[in-house]
């Protein structure tokens, strides 16, 4: 801040130095120290993006603008060079040709590879910025993913009742199945008992029938006397003889 005061004071004192105001931001930025003592109370002015324009890489543009109202700068330059050469203020020596070759090679190199180097430097800076940007984007993306996951979880919570309905249905079905199973078992047990009673009744009747038949047979056999038996046998033999005669009458094929 003090340096800015000094510069403005110098500008007012010497108006020709006003063009030096462009040095202000550069000096302020370069002499800035971090974390020592009091910080600046005012924001430090930002650096200009492009430096002052120069012609032929050496002579600033302001020099040409300064000269134009008075004299042509190229005429002035040519005049000075010719004056130096003719008065042998500048002697053409071996060094002249060395200078010509060195400067020629330098100009050729700069013209040919200048843009390439400039693009390369720009690319390096862009890579640095892209890395930082990528970190920032990755962090944003991560948080966005977390938000989306949270939202989908919330939506899932809304649909939980489907799950509960399905479970309820399952339990109802299981209860129904158990009920029917037990009903069937009861039916089978009852039928079993009734079948038992029926089969007991059938058996009793069959036993009574057999007993009756045996009793009747026994008494009939007892009632047949010996005499009756002989008479019956003799009649059977007489019948058989009669049948034998009848039978003989027919030829046998």
């Amino acid at each position: 801040m003090l340096s800015r005061v000094v510069l403005s004071a110098a500008a007012t004192a010497a108006p020709s130095l006003k063009n030096a105001a462009f040095l202000g931001p550069g000096v302020l930025q370069a002499t800035r120290t971090f974390h020592t003592g009091q910080p600046h109370l005012v924001p430090v002015p930002p650096l200009p993006e492009y430096g002052g324009k120069v012609r032929y890489g050496l002579i600033p543009e302001e020099f040409f603008q300064f000269l134009y109202p008075k004299t042509g700068p190229y005429v002035l330059g040519t005049g000075l060079i010719l004056y130096a050469l003719s008065k042998e203020i500048y002697v053409i020596s071996a060094e002249t040709f060395t200078a010509l070759s060195v400067l020629g090679v330098m100009v050729y190199g700069i013209k040919k590879y200048g843009p390439f180097v400039a693009d390369f430097a720009d690319k390096l800076n862009e890579q640095k910025l892209a890395q930082l940007e990528e970190a920032k984007q990755a962090s944003i993306q991560h948080i966005q993913n977390a938000i989306d996951t949270e939202k989908s979880q919330q939506a899932l919570v809304q649909k939980r009742h489907y799950l509960f309905d399905v479970q309820r249905n399952n339990i109802a079905m299981a209860l129904e199945v158990t009920y029917r199973e037990r009903l069937y078992r009861v039916y089978k047990e009852v039928k079993n008992r009734l079948d038992y009673h029926i089969s007991v009744q059938n058996m009793m009747r069959r036993k009574e029938q057999e007993h009756m038949i045996n009793w009747v047979e026994k008494h009939v056999v007892q009632s047949i006397s010996t005499q009756q038996e002989k008479e019956t046998i003799a009649k059977c033999i007489a019948d058989l003889k009669l049948l034998a005669k009848k039978a003989q009458a027919q030829p046998v094929m």
Binding site: F34, I92, S93, A94, E95, T96, F97, T98, A99, L100, S101, V102, L103, G104, V105, V117, A118, F120, A121, D122, L124, N125, K128, L129
Partner: protein, 226 residues
């Protein structure tokens, strides 16, 4: 002519004060520092170059050798910028003076050797005898190896001085040849001028290579001794 030939190698004085100090201190002004992440193109390219060279040079050293990385990287940058600036017309190159090169070479070499002798004395002494020498040759070989070790700083300094000085002298001579021929025969002037241009390209290469060689050798001596 003779006086003019070596005129560019006199230590320059301004009103009797040595300007060589100012000339030696000038190259760091061309390598700005910056505390920002994104810089202008000059700083970005310079930082990229420095990162590249330092990585290339220091990978072969162990932890102890890497403590020298600041020294070696600043060495190569200093020699490279000084040599390249010396190619400009009417400039003075400090590395053409043997005194400066000796002042650079002897402390660096001595530092490397003394580090080796302090830490691993057996390894350091073992450099004096290559593997697999027949027994009768051993005394002679030890003497030869000692001489080769003691000559290393001299070789470093004299190599750099001789290369740069020879290059400058050659450019000066061919420049004066062009000057002389320009009044006699113009086409041959053009031929000689072409030779001068080729020589300039060579000089640029030599400037960079010498810096590299100097630093590489110092780092080699360091590698042997850590």
């Amino acid at each position: 002519m003779n006086e003019n030939l070596f005129a560019s190698f006199i230590a320059p004085t301004i009103l009797g004060l040595p300007a060589a100090v100012l000339i030696i201190l000038f190259p760091p002004l061309l390598i700005p520092t910056s505390k920002y992440l994104i810089n202008n193109r000059l700083i970005t390219t310079q930082q990229w170059l420095i990162k590249l060279t330092s990585k290339q040079m220091m990978t072969m050293h162990n932890t102890k050798g890497r403590t020298w990385s600041l020294m070696l990287v600043s060495l190569i940058i200093f020699i490279a910028t000084t040599n390249l600036l010396g190619l400009l017309p009417y400039s003075f190159t400090p590395t053409t003076q043997l005194s400066m090169n000796l002042a650079m070479a002897i402390p660096l070499w001595a530092g490397a050797v003394i580090t080796g002798f302090r830490s691993k004395i057996k390894n350091a002494l073992a450099h004096f005898l290559p593997q697999g020498t027949p027994t009768p040759l051993i005394p002679m070989l030890v003497i030869i190896e000692t001489i080769s070790l003691l000559i290393q700083p001299m070789a470093l300094a004299v190599r750099l001085t001789a290369n740069i000085t020879a290059g400058h002298l050659l450019m000066h001579l061919i420049g004066s040849a062009t000057l002389a021929m320009s009044t006699i025969n113009l086409p041959s002037t053009l031929i000689i001028f072409t030779i001068l241009i080729l020589l300039t390209i060579l000089e640029i290469a030599v400037a960079l290579i010498q810096a590299y060689v100097f630093t590489l050798l110092v780092s080699l001596y360091l590698h042997d001794n850590t």
